[in-house]
């Protein structure tokens, strides 16, 4: 079996630019840019709320804001990466495992991409509300139980 056979008879094993890689190259920058945009706008706009909530303690509000932003980035990028794999419902067996057929046409690629990016945008919307709930539920160690007061009581 020479190289010619390998390329012509089993085209699935060839290393060519196919629609899958093009779809990934569009999907990844789009979702990462969306993530960064939403996270930055949240970071800008939740600061005033947190300052109000923590009784005008600026540094505490800034650090809490950064913590919430980190959580948002992790969850959103995690969803975007986990949902990236093309899943068009057509399978073939490869090395004893069922693997999705690669995308075969530009039409299929556009359909798949719009489905992926739309579902990711929906997830981002849900995450935004999750962010609001975290902001409402967050608190800090209560003042009367701080170690400062413990030192005072035990002394």
């Amino acid at each position: 079996m020479n190289l010619y056979d390998y390329i012509i008879i089993n085209p699935k094993k060839t290393e060519t630019m196919n629609y899958n890689i093009a779809a990934y190259c569009i999907y990844l920058p789009t979702t990462i840019a969306l993530c960064i945009w939403i996270a930055r706008s949240l970071h800008r706009n939740t600061k005033a709320f947190l300052i109000e909530r923590f009784h005008h303690n600026e540094s505490l509000a800034t650090s809490t804001n950064n913590l919430i932003q980190t959580g948002f980035y992790l969850i959103a990028l995690g969803f975007s990466f986990m949902k990236m794999r093309v899943n068009n419902g057509r399978y073939h067996q490869e090395f004893g495992r069922y693997i999705n057929e690669p995308l075969s046409s530009a039409q299929e690629t556009i359909e798949e991409l719009s489905l992926k990016i739309g579902s990711f945008t929906l997830i981002l919307g849900l995450l935004l509300f999750l962010n609001f709930f975290i902001m409402l539920m967050i608190q800090r160690p209560k003042k009367q139980y701080n170690s400062f007061n413990i030192h005072e009581e035990t002394k």
Partner: protein, 120 residues
């Protein structure tokens, strides 16, 4: 060839994210958890202990959940492998982080309140 490339990219990326996120949390968590503690040395050392625990748990997670099922034959498969594994790592890190942000102040309040009631 692709297999080794995929594993090395996955491991280096996930370790990098764990360390970068950990440093971010280490910097911001000190003010969040121990902002009102006047004992600087105590709050610093507790913060460092939390950071070490975080790093151990998450690097262990990243190494342990290396997905060894399936053979990676093409570049598209390589991208899919890295994205899916990294997605799982990111999601679990994020879930742990949000739970921590919500629960850690309450846990600290709870234990310190208990200690206040029965001082040793």
């Amino acid at each position: 060839m692709y297999q080794i490339l995929a594993y090395s990219i996955y491991l280096s990326l996930s370790l990098l994210t764990v360390l970068v996120v950990g440093r971010n949390l280490h910097r911001n968590g000190k003010e969040f958890l121990f902002g009102e503690c006047p004992d600087e040395a105590l709050s610093n050392s507790t913060n460092n202990l939390l950071y070490i625990g975080y790093c151990l748990v998450n690097t262990g997670f990243a190494f342990y959940f290396l997905n060894t099922s399936g053979t990676i034959g093409t570049f598209a498969r390589l991208l899919e492998f890295i994205a899916t594994s990294e997605g799982i790592i990111f999601l679990s890190l994020g879930a742990l982080h949000i739970l921590n942000v919500l629960l850690a102040p309450r846990i600290i309040s709870f234990f310190l309140a208990k200690k206040l009631r029965q001082p040793d």
